[in-house]
């Protein structure tokens, strides 16, 4: 052990590093040297820094994992770059980052909530007939701040870098709040400093106003901790208690264990590192919970309804980052979007944005390319009507997806009543697995066989 109390003295503190690094002129270096014997703090600092790295520099480099195929792989990617070294990465990152889902997004409009006074304009006239609710648009950052202040952990307006509309993980627009204040930062995604990365454009205002027209649907994300306690409840009016009760009842205090099991089954491996957390991440899908593992590479989306019947929707065994080129669609910038979507959200079926249904056939939503295109056109001055039309299509897809999942929940419930096992849909396995959560003596494999038999023709989980 070292005496950590010991610190270099003030007089020489600034000289010690240049001294160690050979950045001092000879005279100054000499001064330091003659100072050292008489000053324990400085001496200790110098000797620690010296011994810390002595002899490990070469091994440090050797410690770097090597990859003999790296060069070839890279050159192949380079060859696939569209037009040589011309592409603007700024633009790519720009377009891509907008689809990146960042966090606390609060969707606003009016599902169960009495409509608040719109601050600026209502575009209900442009609202497609399929959606009965009028939209509130034109909310200013200050309005949203007030809203957030009321509903969530207070945000200090002075420290808020921006409040912006972004596209949510389900392809819908949402609100992104980023605060520079350290306290709120941890809550609001620690996004401080990301503003440039997210919205580096001079056309910011214009883009935002267009995105605002694109906004719909009031909802909110809920963050739930391992005990099922809600951490942040932005706006899911009246649902909070319901969900809390549901979770408490469902998970019987063994939340983490259950989720851990779930992840282990889904990802096909036990991880000692796995610590799980719950997050209800889909605004309208309060039945959908995200489970993450602490190594950040694995997560699953679990339907709460499905959870009741121990059915899991989705798994991504191991994320491998996509590389540019893999999702190229002409000149569309797809990289950042693909990557981010893949990392943060669902697509087990590569190329599909964030959908949950019981079978690949029922996947709905936008493909990544479509999402890219939509976003790209938004950012390139698509007219609000066109945006709304696209939004309508998106809404429809989403509603379909809701319906599908509700249907699934029903069927799974029925299924459970008829069978002792329960089903886990694992997209990449090409079929269904049945596992025994909470009853660890069950063998997933043997249950799998059982599951693939159709029971009373009610199961829709099997791939046909």
């Amino acid at each position: 052990m070292l005496n950590t109390k010991m610190n270099p003295c003030k007089n020489f503190q600034d000289e010690l590093d240049p001294y160690l690094d050979g950045e001092l002129n000879p005279e100054s270096a000499e001064k330091v040297e003659s100072h050292l014997p008489g000053c324990e703090g400085c001496r200790e600092y110098v000797s620690f820094q010296k011994s810390l790295l002595t002899g490990i520099k070469e091994d440090w480099k050797k410690d770097v994992p090597s990859n003999p195929y790296f060069y070839a792989g890279l050159m192949e990617k380079i060859d696939r770059q569209p037009a040589g070294p011309q592409l603007s990465w700024g633009k790519l990152a720009f377009a891509g980052s907008a689809l990146m889902i960042v966090g606390v997004f609060v969707f606003f409009s009016v599902s169960n909530k009495p409509q608040t006074e719109p601050t600026q304009e209502i575009v209900s006239s442009a609202q497609p007939a399929s959606s009965a609710q009028p939209l509130i648009t034109g909310l200013k950052s200050s309005d949203m701040l007030a809203f957030l202040y009321q509903e969530m952990v207070p945000v200090d307006p002075a420290r808020t870098e921006y409040v912006r509309l972004v596209t949510g993980d389900d392809g819908r627009p949402g609100l992104l709040v980023s605060a520079s204040d350290e306290k709120t930062e941890t809550i609001y995604l620690q996004l401080s400093g990301m503003a440039d990365q997210f919205f580096p454009s001079e056309r910011e205002a214009e883009i935002n106003s267009q995105l605002q027209k694109f906004a719909g649907i009031l909802c909110g994300g809920i963050l739930v901790d391992r005990k099922g306690q809600l951490l942040v409840d932005p706006s899911v009016y009246q649902l909070k208690e319901k969900i809390q009760q549901k979770l408490a009842g469902l998970l019987g205090g063994k939340v983490n264990e259950n989720l851990k099991n779930a992840l282990a089954v889904l990802t096909g491996k036990e991880s000692g590192l796995v610590k799980t957390s719950l997050m209800i991440s889909f605004p309208e899908r309060t039945d959908l919970v995200k489970v993450s593992s602490s190594d950040e590479n694995e997560y699953a989306l679990i339907s709460v309804d499905a959870f009741t019947v121990r059915s899991l929707r989705q798994a991504v065994p191991r994320f491998s980052r996509l590389v540019p080129g893999e999702f190229q669609a002409g000149a569309e910038p797809s990289y950042a979007v693909v990557e981010t979507q893949k990392r943060l959200f669902t697509p087990s079926q590569p190329g599909v944005v964030s959908v949950a249904s019981n079978s690949p056939k029922k996947e709905t939503g936008l493909t990544l390319v479509e999402a890219n295109q939509l976003l790209f056109s938004l950012r390139n001055g698509l007219k609000p009507e066109e945006v709304l039309a696209k939004k309508a299509a998106l809404d429809e897809a989403f509603n379909q997806y809701l319906k599908d999942t509700q249907e699934l929940a029903k069927q799974v419930k029925l299924q459970r009543e008829q069978s002792a096992g329960f089903k886990v849909y694992v997209p990449n396995s090409g079929g269904v697995k049945v596992v025994g959560f909470g009853s660890s003596n069950r063998e997933p494999d043997s249950l799998k066989k059982k599951a693939s038999k159709k029971e009373n023709g009610t199961t829709t989980l099997d791939n046909e």
């Binding site: 590093d17 810390l52 994992p65 963050l223 610590k275």
Partner: protein, 210 residues
């Protein structure tokens, strides 16, 4: 006037730097030249990325992305620094972006398992000690802030001069100095509880006497 301002006032030409020709060739679209560039810098960039992020799983992808960035933006390289510095700057910035992305993800997972490092063993096995020390330093670096980590890596493992660091990180020389000092103090604070100077001395000593 501080040293950096002085540097900037002087029109500096990097035409004599060894990589000038290479950069020009790459900018003219010479594919062979770019291959050379990759060969020349890949190990360095790998080392840098690994030191900053310590994540073998994503390292290849990140390094690949960095070189693709280099490739796609080489035409915007204006020879205001030497090529290596410019590449390092891209690499460091890319790592920072990655760290931000991870912060976002960490937020979603809400908590992260913390593992304490092993204390250095009191045995005097030098090889083992070295390995432990590397692990300890890696762990220590992962505990300090990205800013501190990066500057230590650039200085101590990439052997950059203060001036080069200033260029890569776009900092004043004075800031490099003070940040490095704070970084080292931070690293020391993190590591010292696990640090056995004596066993290190013993090992060194034993080795000498053999």
């Amino acid at each position: 006037m501080d040293a950096r301002a002085a540097v900037l006032d002087e029109p500096i030409s990097y035409e004599n730097s060894p990589d000038y020709e290479l950069a020009i060739a790459c900018q003219s679209g010479d594919r062979k030249a770019f291959q050379r560039l990759v060969r020349q810098y890949q190990e360095k960039v790998r080392g840098l990325v690994y030191s900053i992020l310590s994540d073998p799983d994503t390292m290849d992808d990140l390094v690949q992305e960095i070189f693709i960035k280099v490739y796609t933006s080489i035409n915007r390289f204006e020879h205001r620094s030497n090529l290596g510095t410019w590449i390092y700057r891209i690499a460091v910035n890319h790592c920072r972006d990655e760290i931000r992305r991870r912060r976002v993800r960490r937020f979603f997972s809400m908590e992260k398992m913390e593992l304490d490092p092993m204390e250095m063993s009191p045995t005097a096995d030098k090889a083992l000690l070295k390995k432990e020390r590397i692990e300890l330093v890696r762990w220590g670096l992962s505990k300090v802030s990205e800013k501190h980590r990066t500057i230590i890596v650039l200085r101590d493992f990439e052997d950059m001069s203060y001036e080069q660091i200033a260029e890569v990180l776009n900092l004043e020389l004075g800031t490099v100095k003070s940040r490095l000092n704070r970084a080292r103090l931070a690293l020391k604070d993190v590591i010292s509880p696990f640090w056995h100077q004596e066993s290190l001395n013993d090992a060194e000593h034993e080795n000498e006497s053999m």
